[in-house]
């Protein structure tokens, strides 16, 4: 997607093949990465988890589910400075305004994310449609995207909140990842997805104990920690089994991708009046969503110096789209709730050809009143088509 030499992510599957690693090899693998790159991985923080810089494998919390906080915050931080300004004054007169654009997180790049889930990796492809499109190129976002490689961990055991298979992804989905690590039972398979991913692993094979190319996995040669040798075809069969098992846990039953046509005619439908009712109007869903990307821009200034700041915003707030006149086109919770659903499953599809949801389930997990987007979509889908076309 980004065509810079050496950072190309267009290389397809199979470019550099598949490697195998014993479970015991993981710490060495992580420390090998950490020795060569600035690594961000899931860490625990008072009962919650987030992606943060790590300095040793011991700090990494191998995820059992998605992190509490989404991957998006490494690319679209909760708040960032876009530019700094200073108004020159002399003799009480306002003079020239000096503007200095901010260089976003250059010191942090390049970096490697380890432990993203396929849903989070996929969310970046959706954010690209907004911040790296033909219409608009966001320098801050693009700098972070170009400077970051993604090593995902496939989901062998999807959680009760997961529904990625309904949103175009899957527990072993490779989209958006440079490398994906799959737990196939006794060992990990590590698949290179892009050229960049191949570069990440180039210095580790043969250095990390228990980590080798699948093509070099010869008969009669067991990995450390393994009693029996595993043949490449056995490992690939184990991978297929793990993938099928995981996908079977979350059959694609949520009407997420196909509902956009129907939603087009449902803006004024009376069902919104019932659906929104229990919504409290907080932004736990939007802020923890890996694809929600609405932001606010404000100046933070003291005396004659200041910064222009971009920060997260959410359609659930009364301040969202509040006009200077005092008018708000979305005056109540019903309109705001409808906006969130419509943006994700109708407008985003119209504008960008996909839905703005990867089925990570964070909104389900964190909603104080159990507003389950799967049920909302099912309810919208169940509304009779005859009563839908009221606009």
């Amino acid at each position: 997607m980004h065509g810079t030499a050496g950072l190309d992510r267009t290389g397809g599957p199979g470019v550099a093949g598949v490697s195998v690693m014993s479970k015991e090899g993981l710490a060495g693998f992580l420390n090998g990465l950490i020795a060569r790159f600035r690594v961000f991985a899931p860490v625990q923080e008072a009962g919650t988890t987030r992606f943060a810089p790590v300095s040793s494998a011991g700090e990494v919390m191998m995820p059992t589910t998605v992190t509490s906080r989404p991957l998006k915050e490494l690319f679209l931080p909760p708040s960032e400075t876009l530019l700094e300004f200073e108004v020159e004054t002399s003799g009480g007169m306002v003079g020239e305004v000096k503007v200095e654009p901010a260089e976003p997180g250059v010191g942090d790049m390049p970096r490697v994310v380890f432990g993203a889930r396929p849903c989070d990796a996929r969310s970046l492809l959706l954010l690209d449609k907004v911040f790296d499109s033909t219409d608009y190129k966001d320098g801050h976002y693009i700098a972070r995207r170009r400077g970051t490689a993604i090593i995902s961990v496939a989901c062998s055991e999807p959680a009760e909140i997961c529904f990625c298979t309904s949103t175009g992804g899957g527990p072993f989905d490779e989209a958006g990842s440079d490398v994906i690590l799959e737990d196939v039972g006794d060992v990990y398979l590590i698949k290179v997805i892009t050229e960049r991913g191949a570069g990440l692993l180039a210095g580790l094979e043969g250095v990390v104990p228990g980590f080798r190319r699948l093509s070099e996995q010869a008969e009669g040669d067991a990995l450390p920690g393994q009693l029996l040798p595993l043949l490449p075809e056995q490992l690939l069969a184990a991978e297929r089994n793990a993938k099928e098992r995981a996908e079977a846990v979350i059959p694609a039953l949520v009407p997420a991708r196909g509902i956009h046509e129907k939603l087009k005619g449902m803006f004024e439908h009376e069902c919104w009046g019932e659906l929104y009712r229990k919504c409290l109007g907080c932004a736990a869903c939007a802020y923890l969503c890996p694809t929600c990307h609405c932001f606010d821009i404000a100046d933070e200034a003291v005396d004659n110096k200041g910064r222009r700041v971009r920060c997260w915003d959410a359609c659930m707030f009364p301040m969202f789209t509040l006009h200077a006149s005092g008018h708000n086109p979305r005056p109540g919770r019903k309109e705001r709730f409808r906006q969130r659903v419509m943006h994700k499953f109708s407008y985003f599809m119209e504008n960008n050809g996909d839905i703005a949801c990867v089925g990570c389930g964070r909104c389900i997990e964190n909603c104080p009143v159990n507003m389950d987007i799967r049920s909302v979509l099912a309810s919208l889908d169940a509304v009779s088509a005859a009563s839908a076309g009221t606009v």
């Binding site: 009760e160 009712r277 907080c282 736990a284 707030f317 099912a378």
Partner: protein, 335 residues
């Protein structure tokens, strides 16, 4: 899974889900029977209130979409009252919905929710004659987050329930299921004096100021300013929160620790003498921030300095602490 996605499935509950960590895990098998009796009575009362036109909407709990969750339901037809449930997962403070309700409403309240409602009545945010209050004698709700943290192996009452002193609402029209049983020592309603309800706060107050500052810094640094605490709070009803004001702007867009602190300290002081410790803020917080450290301190000071207990039966209709004055009010903190 497919059941879960059907609209009817959500209302009628999913097989096996009703057995998730019920009262029996907390308070013994007898509690399950009591909860069933309460649930049946809630359904009966709601059906009658709706049939008789006494209420336009009945707000209660229905089965959620996850085994650990219930969800607020708004029932408008008598025949839908069967969706109402009651058990130890019914954590939400439904009183939060009342100021926005048009017409006449029925509502299920636990002891804490009832105290919140008493405050709303005293602060003239809801009209008593538009309400039918269905109280339950609460045995405490499960702290699902700590259950999850422990891998589902241990069941805990929510921290608020562990220090709850009045398990039944101070004002109500119906007591669903009647009296459900004796107070469990250490559970809601235990006034035996065998525990210090503010013990945790006293212990925290005794720490060095730097330690307390560091604790709050760490807690509030996790805040993502989603305002779930504020939105879930039945007493946070300001039409425009100070945190949302643009002129003057109280909370910066930097999302710096200082911005988060200003919000949480401002909110806590605004709840002084009003917070009734339902715990809705803590349960709503996706970052697991220890918000009760501040609100319980406010509660303790209101009680110890001014003899004021927000929403309790004795003070249910009283003016807010900050709206009343007596000559006996302590003033030794004034310079």
């Amino acid at each position: 899974m497919s059941d879960l996605l059907g609209v009817s499935g959500i209302m009628s509950g999913i097989g096996g889900m009703n057995n998730w960590k019920r009262d029996s895990d907390v308070n013994g098998a007898a509690a399950n029977e009591a909860a069933d009796r309460v649930a049946q009575d809630i359904r009966r009362i709601a059906r009658k209130l709706l049939s008789d036109g006494e209420v336009d909407v009945f707000i209660g709990y229905g089965q959620g979409t996850l085994p650990s969750r219930v969800t607020p339901v708004f029932i408008t037809r008598p025949e839908d009252a069967d969706a109402l449930i009651w058990d130890a997962r019914c954590e939400n403070d439904l009183v939060v919905y009342l100021p926005g309700i048009e017409g006449k409403a029925g509502v299920v309240v636990k002891g804490c929710d009832g105290r919140a409602l008493a405050r709303l009545l005293a602060e003239k945010q809801v009209e008593r004659d538009r309400l039918k209050i269905v109280a339950v004698e609460c045995a405490g709700v499960i702290d699902r987050k700590s259950v999850k943290r422990d891998g589902g192996n241990r069941v805990h009452l929510h921290p608020s329930c562990q220090v709850c002193e009045e398990r039944t609402a101070p004002v109500y029209d119906f007591l669903a299921g009647g009296a459900t049983g004796p107070v469990v020592p250490g559970g809601p309603g235990d006034k035996s004096g065998s525990r210090d309800p503010f013990g945790e706060i006293r212990e925290f107050e005794a720490r060095a100021s730097e330690e307390r500052w560091n604790y709050f810094s760490q807690e509030f640094d996790r805040c993502i300013l989603c305002y779930a605490c504020r939105q879930a709070c039945p007493l946070c009803y300001c039409p425009e929160c100070f945190a949302d004001r643009a002129t003057p702007k109280w909370i910066g867009k930097d999302r710096a620790l200082s911005d988060k602190m200003v919000f949480h300290l401002g909110r806590a002081i605004h709840l002084a003498g009003r917070c009734i410790d339902c715990g809705a803020c803590v349960r709503a917080c996706p970052m697991g921030i220890d918000l009760r450290k501040l609100t319980r301190k406010m509660e303790k000071d209101a009680r110890e300095l001014f003899g004021y207990e927000a929403g309790k039966a004795a003070a249910a209709g009283a003016l807010p602490l900050f709206a009343s004055f007596t000559r006996e009010d302590p003033d030794d903190f004034i310079l």
